[in-house]
Structure formats: C-alpha cells, structure tokens
Symmetry: C2
Subunit: 432 residues, 2 copies
C-alpha cells in the first residue's frame, strides 16, 4: 500500500469519528479555523507569491493566473465563508421521518454524513476552505488533490485550517494529497471514498467521470437554451435572452443557443440582433434566423452541440414549443433551460417535459447558482439524475440511516401471524 492509499484509509477511519462529533465541537473548530486563517495571512500570501511566480515563469496568464492569485480581500472572503458555514444548523442527526411498525417498534430515518469525500480541483485555492468547512460541518472527511500550480498555497491553507480544527474534532479526517500519481490512486479507492467532487474545466470533469467507479457529483457541460415562445412578451424575451448570454458568458449557466418560435421571429430576432451586436456577440444562425439577424453568420450542425463559454450564440427557429422541447432534450446538457412565454399551459408543458436540472419560466439561465438559490455555500452544480441535481449545497453531502428501536422484537412473530404490522406514520424524534 503506497502513501496515498494509507493516508486516505487513515482519513476514512478518522471520518467515522468526525461523523459523530457534536455541533458545538464542529462550530468551535470552524471558528478556530477562521481565527487561524486571519492570523496566518502572511504564511498564505508568501506561499501564494511563490506559486504565482512559478506559474508566471511557466507562462500561465489571464483568468488562470487570476484564479490562482490570493490577496487579502480573497482571504477575507474565505474567513467570511467559514463563519457563514458555522452559522448553518447542524445537518447531522435529524429525524427525517418516523413510522411505528408496531406497538413499541419504531423506525426512524435519520440524517447522517456520506463519509469520505474526494475533492479534485484545478487552480482555485479557495476551494480548500470552502469545501473543508462544508464537509466539517456536515461530518464528512475530505481527501483533497489540488493542481500542481497551487501546491504551496493549498498546503499553507490546509495546514493552517487542519491544525486549528484539530483541537476540537478528529482533523485526521482531512488529508491533502500532493504527489503526482495521487489522482489515479484515489480514482479506484471506492472502498474508502464515497463521493468525488471535481472542480475545474469541463474536460477535467469529464476525465474524472470517465475514470472512476466512485459516484461523481458535477457537470461536464453547460449547453443552456433560451426558448422564446410565440406567446412571449417581447420585452421580457429581450431582457432574458441578453442577460442569459452576456451577463457572464464564461460560465456553465450562460445560454449557448437561442430558440425562437416561427410566429414571433419577425418581431423578435431583428431587435435581439441589435442588442447582441452592441455587446459584440457573434450570432450563428439557421437559414430563417440568418435573414432576420443583421450581422449574423450561418451555423453549422456542430453549433447546436457546442458550449462556447464566450460571446457567441447559435440561433434556431422552431415551429412549435414541442419542437423546442425536443431540440433541448436532444442537444442540451440537462443543465439549465428557460422559456419566455405568457401562456401558462405552454409554460407548464415546458417545465414538465424538459429533462434538465433547472427549468426556468421568464427568467435568465444565469440564476442557476447556489448563492442565488439561497443555499449559502455551493458544493457544485450537478447534472446527475440521482442524489443531487442542480446547484448543490450542504444537503448534497448528507445521506440517512434507518434506525429501528424495539424491545426484543423478532420477525418470526410476524411471519407466523402472531403479530401484525401497524405501519403508522408518527411525528416523533429519535430519542434513546
């Protein structure tokens, strides 16, 4: 067994203890982490300056370099984030449901942590305090594996946070992996890691999904649509279509394709074309839209399946809402799709039939985000069809166990017919 495996196994063991830590101890650990990070700014900034220098020498620039760079304002944000998580209610040990199986035999469904989370991330060091505080509060251990370019910053942050937490909770449940082979090592540790959260580019997430049997929480693509229905309010449609594309085009919940009903194309497309042109958006159009959008270019088949993450949009004219729904379910990535319409029946059909994590009526796709959904901190956005879907907060780190409390009860009595189940839902908290 190599060092990585041994470290993850040891963390898994410690995570079993962390799972039973009290709310008070967890909150004390989080406050200690916030204080230690404030006191340890110099250490973090020094380590980060070294990472940034090395990255610049390697030719890193633009958004990647910006994401890597830590300053006092970013540390302030990390500290505020940790205290924000401390302010959440403890999610562990809640009775979610209770059922009396028979007199004196009660079944409780009780929330508990998932166990051990593997977090694989690219350059952003702020993932360390964010995910570590969320996992600590929810009683989960973490194996972190960060990008090579941020290794000194990640280590400095991790050591400060883990050392501060260790006075209050079993901090060995948190481990930072650093050697090169580590990612491959943890991808097959399904005996120790219960859930993987990759944070990085689409290609990076897809690679992780393709390389492991461990459940992966995340999304590899964000091909989002805005559909402007024949019954749309044109002013609302202009606002939503513009915001969905240009408010921040580099992210997964920005729109990539605009679908427009044939009956409203004449009235809508020339006006949105003007707005897109003013914002420098390249418009790739089917033949109908091409004739109506000044400055547009023809789309190729490929465009309908492309996530630009840039000031580019593809535009397709459809004959009906049903065609729009079919197009979205075929070409979309099941992330976020919006309809603009004043027709309630069409909106209801769209909401019911579009197979996506987030389906919006008369609102910008850019709202699909944990912060905007009021979740506080975000674990990620999931396009999975099981467990958690859409923006995921701390609830995505929880599962449950069934606790049955009896009095020496045996199944033989029910198999023989001597006793009978009552199966009565009851409003009762687990108390032993």
């Amino acid at each position: 067994m190599n060092d990585t495996r041994a470290a993850v196994r040891a963390a898994k063991q410690a995570s079993l203890e962390l799972a039973t830590a009290s709310a008070e101890d967890k909150d004390s650990a989080l406050e200690a982490m916030a204080l230690a990070l404030d006191a340890g700014r110099a250490k973090v900034l020094k380590a980060n300056a070294e990472d940034v220098s090395a990255a610049e020498a390697d030719g890193l620039e633009g958004p990647m370099l910006k994401r890597l760079t830590v300053n006092d304002a970013k540390i302030d944000g990390m500290i505020a984030g940790i205290r924000d998580v401390a302010s959440f209610a403890d999610p562990v040990g809640h009775t979610m449901a209770a059922k009396e199986l028979d007199d004196g035999l009660t079944l409780y469904q009780v929330s508990c942590p998932i166990g051990m989370i593997g977090v694989i991330f690219e350059s952003r060091p702020d993932v360390v305090p964010q995910i570590m505080s969320l996992c600590l509060k929810s009683g989960n251990g973490v194996a972190f594996k960060g990008g090579r370019e941020a290794v000194r910053t990640n280590r400095a942050l991790f050591e400060i946070l883990r050392d501060a937490a260790s006075a209050h909770i079993p901090a060995d449940a948190f481990v930072m992996l650093e050697t090169r082979g580590d990612v491959d090592d943890i991808l097959d540790m399904d005996d120790s890691i219960d859930l993987l959260i990759p944070r990085g580019s689409n290609a990076f997430v897809r690679h992780i999904q393709d390389s492991t049997r461990i459940p992966v929480l995340g999304h590899a693509a964000g091909i989002c649509h805005v559909y402007v229905d024949s019954a749309a309010d044109t002013d609302k449609a202009l606002k939503v279509a513009l915001d969905s594309k240009v408010q921040y085009p580099a992210v997964c919940n920005a729109a990539e394709t605009l679908l427009v009903h044939r009956d409203i194309a004449d009235a809508f497309l020339p006006r949105i074309a003007e707005k897109y042109s003013a914002e420098g958006v390249e418009m790739r159009c089917d033949s109908v839209a091409l004739a109506l959008m000044k400055g547009s270019v023809p789309a190729s088949e490929e465009d309908w399946d492309t996530e630009y993450n840039d000031l580019v949009i593809s535009v397709h004219v459809v004959d009906s809402a049903e065609d729009a729904i079919a197009f979205i379910n075929t070409h979309g990535s099941h992330h976020t799709d919006a309809i603009v319409t004043e027709d309630k029946a069409t909106a209801a059909r769209f909401v019911s039939a579009v197979d996506s994590a987030d389906v919006f009526v008369n609102a910008s796709t850019r709202f699909a985000d944990g912060y905007r959904y009021g979740k506080g901190a975000e674990v990620g956005i999931s396009t999975n069809k099981i467990h958690s879907r859409g923006p995921v907060g701390m609830e995505g780190l929880m599962i449950y166990k069934y606790v049955l409390v009896g009095n020496g009860d045996i199944v033989a009595d029910y198999a023989s017919g001597a006793k009978h189940f009552t199966h009565r839902d009851v409003n009762r908290e687990l108390e032993l």
Copy 2:
C-alpha cells in the same frame, strides 16, 4: 448501432413522454395490466412450463427452480402487487420546497422521474410486473434484461403488460432485451440509462457494479451483526440473536456474526449455544466463546468477513461497545447491524457510530426489508452512500428539478446591486 442500443435509445425517447403522463392515465394503464395478466394466465403458464422443462433438462434444481416456477398463486400475487402500486399517490410533480428569491421570482423544487432504469435480473420472473409497475407509476422507462432460463416466461409477461399499458401511456418506454450480448451492451449506455438495478446473487451484483459507470442501486453483500452489550437484557438478546440467524438464513439481512461483551459472555453464550444447537446452527468461535459454547468449533480469520447465507454463525467476544463498533465498521458490509442493550447512552453511541444503512436497537436484523418498513413494494436494498440507502421503495426512482418562475428577471440587476435577493422560504405549490 446494433438492435439493443437502438431499442434502448427509442425507449429513452419514449420515457421522456412517460415522464409527463397524468396520474389518471398511469393508473388506467396499471389496471389494464392487472386485468390483462388475469386474462393471460394460460399464456404465461404455458411459457413458464417450457422454461421449467428446459431448465430441468439443463439440471437446474432446488431454490433456483422454485424461483423460476410460476403458478396461479404467484400470478395472483403479481396482480395484487400491480393494484397495490396503482393505489399509491402519484409521486411526480410534487413541490418539495419553495423559496421566494425576490418579489415575483420564486424557486420551486419539484419531484420528477429519474428517466430510464436498467433492470438486470436472474431467474425470478416476478421482477417484471413488480418493477414495471413501480417504474410506470413513477414515470420511468425500463430496459429489462432477464436470465436465459426464464426467457419465455419473461417475454410472455412483458408482452401482456406492455400491450395492456400501451392504450394509456407511451409503452415504448418499456423494452425487454433478449439476445446474449445485451448485458454488456447496456452496461456502457450511460447516455441512455440513468440507473441500473441488478437483482440476483451477490456475485452477480458485484459483477454489474464492477463493469459499468452507470450508478447501480443495490448491495453486493450482507454481513450483518448482532452485538450483545454488557447491559443487555439476556432474554431479549436470546430472541434477537436467534431470530436474526435462523428465521430465514439464506437472505442478506440474516446475521452472520454475533459479538458479545466480555462481561455478559458467561451468562449469555452457554444459553444461546443451546438454542443454536437445537436449530442446527454451526458456531465458529474465537477462543473465549469456544470455551463457553457447547458444540462450537474454532473460527478462522476468514470467518469474520464471510457471508454464510446458511445455518452458520461466527462468534466473537469484545471488551467494549467501542470494540464492537470498530469490528462492525471493519468487517461488516454496511447493511444492517443490531445492538441489544438496556443502556440508552450505549445504544445512542452505537446508532451514531455504526456506518450502516440500518442500525437497530433491541430488534432482529431480519426487519430490514421494504415490506416490513411499510414501503409497499421494494425496488431493492441499497448499501450505497448516496441517493438511497437501506430498503428502497418507489422514492428511490425519483429525483427533482428546480423550477424558477419570474417575470423577465435578469441576473444583471442583482450583480449591479439594483436588486437584492430576499431568500424567503414560502409554503407555495408550483402553479403556472
């Protein structure tokens, strides 16, 4: 694209329509299925007789042959099961939570089907009506792949049920795969199949888990423990330890290992040894238990990690409840484990620290079952750490989508500070 892939893709398309079917249409389909199965008994029994003859000629016998055999009583059970599912409330389209993000901008979390379920099963043909009715009611499509020995019975059942349903819902969402290569084909269809449910032996389930990236709902092993604490009521301990082992030893929730606190070993072990001996249970013991249990034999290290599914139990004496917890978390399969104790603090610690789907206090492990939990029909028992854990009913076939309803709302207004989120939980059903 071969026939299997084409058939599954077509079913996936149809499942998108099934997802939006009304409760009335789904219940009509289920009643039509129940009536058609009653009317089609002769066809099913004839097909089954052929399967049974062929299986006998192949040397199949015992429990396998019993599971394969269909008679009128089994068909009665299938019909009752379909009608039972029809009586459930429609699980689709429920507003699970609602939050006002701002005035006139409301986020709803709404239940919906997962999509397309792959069901791979060994000889039991009753899986077909059971899973098909559960999936239909919950709006999910199904690709069935049954064992070769039951191919005629499965086909007869499937055709009767699908044809009956097709008058009411898009029954193309259900497909029965029959050719030999089919299992391998569907294991890599993660673009069309959202969840796999294997029903069969442990080795069979483990093989499926090892061979696919599609999420698998199930359990490969059932190594369950009964721990008799120093503060146990000996009479309750005798009942629970006996029932957990002998009431039906061939199944996953039967106990395989008995852990006993050193302080109660003298009082308890000779008495349970008498009871086990009377039931023909072989006792494999550590050195302490060996001296106290008449007729026992020494255990090897291997015994602590073995699922017997038979009248055999391993017995280990521990120094403390903590030792029992550590032993269970190390050697168990995270399925079902029970403590017998009158000490409430020890019971609470056991419930919190044992990392299993079902953790019982003073009750037999044999209660871990969807029927006994009052779920009606059971999809399976899961030892997964995400989505569904323990006995899984129709709720395990559901996920949710986020529906945001606005009035032309855009993120730019919130990014600029012109508007602010209210993030207020509201008690409101989605209505468009």
